[in-house]
């Protein structure tokens, strides 16, 4: 186990060096050229096609996230969307599994996200001297404060990594029944009439 202050110092040093990502051995963007077994798996994977069964949806592509990165994903997802007094944490709602589904999908947007996410996760682990999942809370918070702060990363790829990870987390969290309920979406109720917004909402809208 690494000394806490040492870990924070290393994470911040990496950021202060102007680049979280290129400071480390496998620079982002090189992923495409790398002989990565995950990219090889991608080459043969198929999407759901132009005529999938809409009544029985399923994910046909293999999941690519390796066992070592799973705790890293869960840790970062729970830092993004932790449990609070209103709703559970990202990992309690299956967000890490959704991130795996997303980055494993054989579509151009997801393939681009995959390279960004996998490289970012690996380098977080390297900077943490093992696994980011074992970094203590204050080190993780110090890192996230800087990573998420607009303009906080001098490396634009690090900023893109965190924005991308956050975007996928939001999708994975707020499309679940619990996430939908937390947002206050109460549609999908068949009705004979559309009543429109209730009086208290109209008052709030000022119309």
């Amino acid at each position: 186990m690494h000394d806490r202050r040492e870990v924070i110092a290393r994470l911040l040093r990496v950021l202060a060096a102007g680049a979280l990502l290129p400071a480390l051995p496998a620079p982002l963007g090189a992923a495409a050229e790398r002989a990565d077994p995950q990219d090889a798996a991608e080459a043969g994977a198929l999407g759901y096609g132009r005529d999938p069964n809409l009544l029985a949806p399923s994910v046909p592509w293999p999941l690519l996230l390796d066992a070592k990165l799973r705790p890293t994903v869960a840790r970062l997802a729970d830092l993004m969307l932790p449990a609070d007094e209103r709703s559970p944490s990202a990992s309690a709602l299956g967000v890490p599994e959704f991130i795996d589904e997303w980055i494993s999908a054989p579509y151009p947007q997801q393939a681009e996200d995959r390279r960004l996410i996998l490289d970012g996760l690996r380098q977080l682990d390297l900077a943490a001297g093992g696994s980011f999942a074992t970094v203590d809370e204050s080190a993780a918070v110090a890192l996230l404060d800087q990573l998420c702060e607009p303009g906080g990363c001098r490396d634009p790829l690090a900023a893109r990594f965190v924005a991308c990870f956050r975007r996928i987390c939001l999708i994975g969290y707020y499309t679940t029944p619990a996430g939908v309920a937390e947002l206050g979406y109460v549609g999908y109720q068949p009705a004979a009439h559309f009543e429109g917004p209730p009086p208290q909402v109209l008052r709030r809208l000022g119309v």
Binding site: Y48, L54, L81, C148, A192
Partner: protein, 564 residues
Amino acid sequence: MSAEPFDVVVIGSGAAGGTAAYALTRRGARVCLLEAGRDYDPSAETPMFARNADAPLRGASTPDKFFGYYDATVGGGWDVPGEPYSAAPGTEFRWWRARMLGGRTNHWGRVTLRYAAHDFKAASIDGLGADWPFDYREFSPWYDRAERLIGVIGRNDGLDDAPDSPPGILQPPPVPRSHERLIVAAGRKLGRPVVANRAAVLTRPIDGRAACIYATPCLRGCSIRANFQSTTVLLPAARATGRLHTLTGAMASEIALDREGRATGVHYVDTATGAHRFVAARAVMLGASAMESVRLLLNSGGSRFPGGIGADSGALGRYVMDSVGSNLWAQFPQMENLPPFNDDGIWFPHVYIPWWGLAEQRAGRLDFPRGYHIELYGGRMEPAADTFDLLDEVAPGRYGKSLKQAARRYYGSFVRLSQRGEPVALARNRVEIDPRGSDRFGIPTLRFDVRWSEHELKQTAHAQKSMAEFIVAAGGRVLGDPRQDPARAILSPGRVIHEVGGARAGSSPKESVTNSYGRVWAVPNLYVIDGAVFPSSAHKNPTLTIVGFAWRASEHLAEHLGRA
């Protein structure tokens, strides 16, 4: 199959072909309907009430399903595997296709606006493009019929740009949603109209079809037949006559002509086996979708009509149009942290902003010749993969509990305004056969050469400014820069999926491919009945006009067949 004595072969089963099948079989004609895609049964296949939580990628847009996993489109998209198209260097055209019974009517946005008198005669007013070969008075009975058949909600507002329907046709529209009320109030402030949308959905049951139940998105189709799809309204009625024979998986490749130059039937490819087949008939109607119909004309004619049937007019493949589109996003502070309530409604916009600038345009005070309307999307819809795409714009850099607070606060407060405008028909905007292209059936493919002109760019600059004015007047904030270069704001041709023209109707064979009934000048028993015949394309979504035109053409042909 060629032994069957068909009166008419209809190519395509969407708004145009479905209407022809409906109208012709009712008049006693025996119809063979060719559809390139597969059979499709909305009552059994529509994923109503399915939730994003259960869809791959939570229903996010992919190249397989651009409009989301549950979108009704089968076998299609911006590209169809094995059926390529190309664009001239320096141009871009996006061509949305479906390969299913009912075509794109299964998925469309159902905005159903009538052309006004000036829309049919725009060239006479501003000298650009060509008039339609009939006027509003002559065509409006077909709008009446079409609206009665498909079912349209809306109100008669007496606006110069949106003609009233006769009493008793339009069904009551639903009250506006929350974000729409802000835009209605902004319209009052600005002195501009914001009125009930006209949309092809029922709020009262007719013809055994149920009324809308105000739940689940219409782009998936509708198993209770509350909205208009060819497969829920036109084709079941045509089938019930016993005179409709449907061939799915039948990709038309060429219209066959005899030595006198009359159509004898259609060559097609069985898409399952690749076998080449032929179906004979006394007449042929082309409703394959505007660009597919033009492609068939270009690929037919042999030595009798070099360059394609109708090429001698000089109009074949030319005057291709799409609606002018651009978007502007808004965020409304009044809509933050609202208590839970159901704002689903009919899925389509309940209100829209009709074109208000006609008088100004006539007085020469605007620097663009044709109008536009504005549609509204967004608000408190079912959370989906794109719900928080704009969260970073209003709450940058969040994580942890503050990210969750931001999600709760801003959910439902984003609204998109969309310009839908009229382009000017130009001869230079064309499709032709790509000398190097053919599809997986060996059929030569299309190359598009369509570019916006200064007319569309100036209109878009005006629309971006107007949309920003509406947003600000409604108390919202504009996301992005509305004064951005219109060349960047405008969507590429084809993106609005209102592509029309290429075989325009007219009053002279010297400048048009068909007469006012869609009858090809050079081949009297061949009709073009879809968007290909549009000489101009008002800012109003084309489907209602396609249904009216196809119905009118079918009645004309039925008279001609002598089976009235």
